[in-house]
């Protein structure tokens, strides 16, 4: 009887101290998509957050609406996705989600890929894509806006082409077989397609072109407000991750490639040859592009609200600014 009491009290002590022990290290749950454009998030989860004393759990997700809804409901604290209607609608409906920093930017010339077999014959210029099939990986996100920008260069709009939705990896065989004639394709797949002789990227980047923001990270607003110190530390760690990428050969350095490999099935040698993504060392983002994207989504009927949201409602850059101040501008 006595030994039972001892055991019981030991268990009781352990039970009551365990939460305290766990609380010593804060936990952050991060949702990601297995694509190398999420490199900053991978570096954050793998390197900088643990270094800052955090427990990190990463959850692999299927796409934008899932990322937004999981962060909005608090199942995850932090997530990333292509900027687009799902995120805009979530913010507009009052869900506790706020975009806080860009995740990656790119140049449309690096994304717009055309099937080699038709380029030069049936399709001599972008306008010849009228009525043809073009691949996008999702509707209502930055890639759709990118396609519109590419088509606009030769007088077409997105309504002039036939959109087929498929994941990035599937676009390469689709370009090969002719299921689509063009695609908005994210690295490393355009490079892969070029290596296979399947497709090419016909657009040249004009001098002084600015990269377009494509993906961004967002977190649960209620969590950030309840844990301002944690949120700040997360942002500082994220800034460090961004600087790992922005400086030197960041995106294609060996350490980065190792981390990318951990979270995706991308091949390092292909990534090395790919055109790098872009992320600003101070996590800056062109606000005019954001406004144009919102307007574009509204025109396509993707938004559930009529009046466009001011930028300040969509993005909360306060944490980013504070982190940049702390680490100093680069």
């Amino acid at each position: 009887m006595r030994s039972l009491r001892v055991i019981a009290s030991v268990l009781l002590v352990l039970w009551s101290t365990a939460p305290a022990l766990a609380q010593a290290k804060p936990t952050v749950k991060i949702g990601y998509l297995p694509t190398d454009s999420f490199a900053a998030l991978f570096l954050l989860a793998d390197r900088h957050l643990p270094a800052a004393g955090f427990n990190v759990e990463t959850v692999r997700l299927a796409g934008g609406p899932e990322a937004v809804s999981q962060v909005a409901t608090g199942q995850l604290q932090l997530g990333g996705s292509g900027m687009g209607a799902a995120g805009f609608n979530a913010v507009a409906s009052g869900l506790p989600v706020e975009y806080v920093a860009p995740l990656h930017s790119g140049y449309v010339e690096d994304y717009f890929t055309v099937r080699k077999a038709v380029w030069g014959n049936e399709v001599k210029r972008i306008a010849d894509l009228k009525g043809r099939a073009v691949a996008l990986n999702v509707r209502g996100a930055a890639v759709e806006w990118m396609l519109e920008q590419a088509l606009k260069r030769d007088g077409l709009t997105i309504k002039d082409v036939q959109i087929k939705i498929m994941p990035f990896p599937d676009m390469v065989p689709a370009l090969e077989s002719g299921a689509v004639d063009a695609a908005i394709l994210s690295e490393p797949f355009p490079t892969l397609a070029e290596q296979k002789g399947v497709a090419l990227r016909p657009l040249t980047r004009p001098a002084g072109a600015k990269a377009m923001p494509i993906t961004a990270i967002f977190w649960n607003k209620e969590w950030a407000v309840a844990n301002p110190d944690l949120a700040h530390r997360v942002m500082v760690a994220y800034l460090k991750a961004a600087r790992d990428l922005a400086v030197g050969d960041g995106w294609q350095g060996d350490r980065t490639l190792d981390v990318i490999l951990k979270f995706t099935s991308a091949k390092p040698d292909v990534l090395k040859k790919a055109r790098p993504h872009v992320l600003d060392a101070n996590l800056e983002m062109d606000p005019t592009v954001l406004e144009a994207m919102q307007r574009f989504n509204a025109e396509l009927g993707y938004l559930k609200y009529k009046e466009l949201l001011p930028l300040s409602k969509l993005f909360n850059f306060a944490y980013r600014d504070r982190a940049v101040k702390e680490l100093g501008r680069q």
């Binding site: 796409g63 609406p65 937004v68 409901t73 979530a90 409906s93 869900l95 509707r139 559930k304």
Partner: protein
Amino acid sequence: MRRPAARGWESAIAIGSPLLLLAAWEAASAVGLLRAQFFPRPTTIARHFGELLADGSLPRHAGTTLVRLAWAFLLAAVPGVAVGLAMGISRRVRDGLDPLFAVIYPIPSVLFLPLLSFVLKPADAALAVTGAITSFFLIAYTTMTGVQQIDRTVLEAATHFGARRGRLFIKVLLPGTLPFIFTGLRLGLGLALIVVIAVEMVSAQHGLGALLWLSWGLLKVEDMYAALAAIALLGGPLLWALALVRARLLPWLPDVADA
């Protein structure tokens, strides 16, 4: 016969409990127990539904789905009944077609969409025909069973009294088979609706299934619920209309609950 009081209770519960649930949902959403952005209040959904009706978008989507469904049902029903009758009457037809049907029937209908999209260029045609396939087999088989279960003695008696092919068919075979044909049509209509909605979710830009799926992708949650409600409201009246036709044609039959 059930006592009137008991029947009154049953109707009360039948109407009352769903209303109670809706009221509970309304309350939970209003106070925040249910997150309103993902589970809007039923009144909000109803209002949004009304808005989509008024601006024409919901009727357009519903119309698209109904047209596809009508085609799918027609393509399934007419050949289905014809083939089913043939299979029921002629042993040779049945032996010839049965192996083919038995192999194709268990295949989940949506999988036929790729095949059909290769063959039928207008996207709508491929969607409608996909909806028709499994229904066709269902209706054919049910009709066949209907023919087979006709009491042989009735057939013999009729033949004995001089009824030949044509009259035999119209006066004996068809009336005897009709209840089964209608069961098949009912099941076939339900199945066609399921498949049309499913393929719309996969690859259409218009239609209730497309609206449902696209709204989810854009997190336009109220649209999603409105589409769901519209789909739910679609099935009931269609089946009821079919039941009406059946009651007219086969007035001597009591209401059969289910297959």
